[in-house]
Symmetry: C2
Subunit: 129 residues, 2 copies
Amino acid sequence: MSTLKSSKQRDAVLANLQSRYDHPTAEDIFLAVKEVIPSISLATVYRNLKLLESEGLILKIPTGDSDRFDGHTHGHYHLTCINCRQVIDLDIDPGVNLDSLPRDFDGTVTSHSLMFYGICPDCKSSNKK
Amino acid sequence: MSTLKSSKQRDAVLANLQSRYDHPTAEDIFLAVKEVIPSISLATVYRNLKLLESEGLILKIPTGDSDRFDGHTHGHYHLTCINCRQVIDLDIDPGVNLDSLPRDFDGTVTSHSLMFYGICPDCKSSNKK
DNA sequence: TTTAATAATGATAATTATTATCATTATCAT
DNA sequence: ATGATAATGATAATAATTATCATTATTAAA
């Protein structure tokens, strides 16, 4: 197989994701990294997001619309606001090892993702409903 | 607002989803319902999937590629096979009320979805890795 | 250090999934 | 029956993502 070669574009994408705590789309990341490397192409962002995810360095969060990304891979959970569609971190401890929950199951569980849905604090306070 | 009017296309989409235990894409459902209503259009399937989901009659499962759908809305969880990309049901009991996990959280949680990743029983037994 | 091999890039075309449009048809309350 | 309008099928449009391809950058070895 091919060996990975370093690139400042990839480094910048990873650095951007690791420096922020929201959950940007590929487009969001493209715009942010463009400030540092004006010549970067959107395709390069997509390419590197896929690569970084397969390396386990970032997380892809499927959402029904544009995928979102997370530069922090330690176990934590998310809430999708059904009002503003933002994805925010939730710092909770499930108390049990969720990965070991499926008992009478003939397959193998390697990981899980837990997504909560509801109203984020911002939308709840600035309540216009 | 507009009042819902019945249609055999919508009934057929719902019936199809409720009769099966896999997690088909819109395309899969389109092909299946086409056997019963040959004139049905893919757009009609998408329209009704969206409508049925907003009615709470079915579930949409975002997956990073094509969305999948589930005709069974009682609380249960899923595993995405990282080998064959199938989504299968997992009959497990988390033991705790996951929706009440986020404690010091200023928003509101209305629901959650828990997705496991790993190898499904089929891929594990017919192991060519 | 050149050089050779090839991974990565930027630009853009192509593809895929999904949604919007619109003329026609079906449903339903009167 | 009829009028109002929701739903349909066909298809165009859009949005997100991936593929292509000529050029550039990185790296290991000469």
